[in-house]
């Protein structure tokens, strides 16, 4: 069965590009353009992995992470923080809140993001 990935990213073109690439790689995609929708979909659909941006409307990535970790059903879903912030404080905060990995978008090609996703899901 195809693995479900939830993309929470407010930049529509980025969200779509990630989605199309992942679908071509054989994943099933869910997407949200803001933090609140992201949390709703995560709780309803229980994806296998979540790609989460930090700068989001309604609730930011950290708040989403907090909510997900508080809920029994979602707290074990691996979360990859995909963002363009990269100060030491941001990274430390992300891991303290339970993120699995932290990637700076502009340092990675989509192909490399897929590799990280497969690693986090323990695939091949």
């Amino acid at each position: 069965m195809a693995k479900k990935i939830l993309i929470v990213e407010d930049e529509a073109t980025l969200n779509k590009a990630m989605g199309e690439f992942l679908v071509a790689e054989g994943f099933e995609i869910l997407s949200a353009l803001d933090g609140v929708t992201g949390i709703d979909i995560a709780k309803k659909e229980l994806p296998n992995l979540i790609l989460l941006d930090i700068i989001l409307p309604q609730k930011d990535g950290y708040e989403v992470l907090d909510e997900l970790k508080k809920d029994e059903k979602t707290k074990d879903i691996p979360v990859i923080l995909l963002t363009n912030l990269e100060s030491q404080e941001d990274i430390v905060k992300a891991f303290e809140k339970g993120a699995t990995t932290y990637l700076v978008k502009s340092d990675y090609k989509l192909q490399d993001v897929v590799k990280k996703i497969k690693m986090a899901l323990g695939m091949n």
């Binding site: 980025l14 990630m18 690439f21 363009n84 978008k105 502009s106 989509l110």
Partner: protein, 315 residues
């Protein structure tokens, strides 16, 4: 009441992004104490001197001076603190706002070329590759500018641990330098005898240093030149050198080589692309790692850049 608000030092410290000891309110308290001591001193002076009016006037003048200077210092401190906070926020906002469209562009190009390339002819693919390369160039420029902003603010943080520097060098050679060099038929020689010790440095930042120094060497060496990477070690440091047979740096400009945005005049003739930030950033990283960087250069003969990195301490 402003007094009660001002006494909330912690809140003000957070707002202005400085430590509590540098908040204007704390300085105000310190000045207050100075004032009280001055008044006390004046009071005791009055008791000893015979002309209380004279002393009183002198005291008033002292108080006025203290208050004026005090206000100036507080204003200055507040201004500097605000500016500091603005700079930090700028770095944070700039990284996000500049990088978001750039990563979006590169990912669209990647998508087109890898998953949606059906129906695209070679010329079209070439154009898309160009767009991708240009966005990559901009991404690098943004990264450089952000690194410089962080350096100027003293906020470039390094994660120092023991790293395999040979892997670092080989990685950069393979990914970036060898392709660039072979396009100009420049030979790159790295005599890795396998005995390079572990050094204490930040792996990603060292990759950047090697990338900067080596890509400079390639850029400023004409066709069919040679670039050699060598190393030595002494008791506490590993010493690296990158030697090229390039155009060299004019003697009159050699003391500006590590300055921000500096590009020597003979270089601009050959290469209009370049920010002049690479060496400024490299020098900063090396010095923050605990090493030193220096060079020798002669016009039309070549340049050798040397730098040291601390070795892993053997206990």
């Amino acid at each position: 009441m402003r007094i009660i608000n001002d006494l909330n030092l912690k809140k003000q410290a957070e707002e202005l992004g400085v430590s509590v000891w540098r908040t204007p309110s704390f300085l105000f308290i310190v000045l207050g104490l100075v004032l009280i001591s001055a008044m006390n001193g004046a009071y005791h002076a009055i008791k000893f001197l015979n002309d209380p009016e004279f002393v009183f006037i002198a005291e008033l003048i002292v108080v006025a001076v203290i208050l004026t200077i005090g206000k100036m210092v507080i204003n200055q401190a507040e201004q500097m603190a605000k500016l500091n906070k603005m700079k930090t926020e700028f770095i944070s906002v700039a990284s996000h706002q500049l990088r978001t469209p750039l990563s979006a562009m590169r990912w669209q190009a990647e998508l087109l070329l890898s998953k949606m390339s059906e129906g695209l002819d070679e010329k079209q693919k070439e154009k898309i590759t160009n767009i991708d390369m240009l966005s990559l160039r901009m991404t690098r420029l943004v990264n450089d500018l952000l690194d410089v902003a962080k350096i100027d603010q003293g906020r470039l943080s390094l994660t120092i641990k023991e790293i395999n520097i040979s892997e670092c060098i080989n990685g950069i050679l393979k990914e970036i330098i060898l392709p660039l060099a072979s396009a100009k038929e420049i030979k790159v020689i790295f005599d890795d005898k396998g005995d390079l010790p572990m050094v204490m440095a930040d792996a990603d930042k060292m990759k950047l240093v090697f990338e900067n120094l080596l890509s400079n060497a390639v850029k400023y060496t004409l066709e069919e030149g040679k670039i050699e990477i060598n190393y030595e070690k002494d008791e506490d440091f590993a010493i690296f050198s990158i030697k090229d047979t390039g155009v060299g740096i004019p003697f009159s400009q050699q003391d500006q080589v590590f300055s921000k945005f500096f590009r020597s005049s003979n270089v601009v003739r050959y290469q209009t692309e370049g920010t002049g930030l690479g060496l400024y950033i490299a020098k900063n990283i090396i010095e923050q790692t605990g090493g030193k960087i220096w060079f020798e250069s002669e016009e039309n003969v070549g340049t050798t850049f040397n730098f040291t990195l601390p070795l892993k301490k053997v206990n």
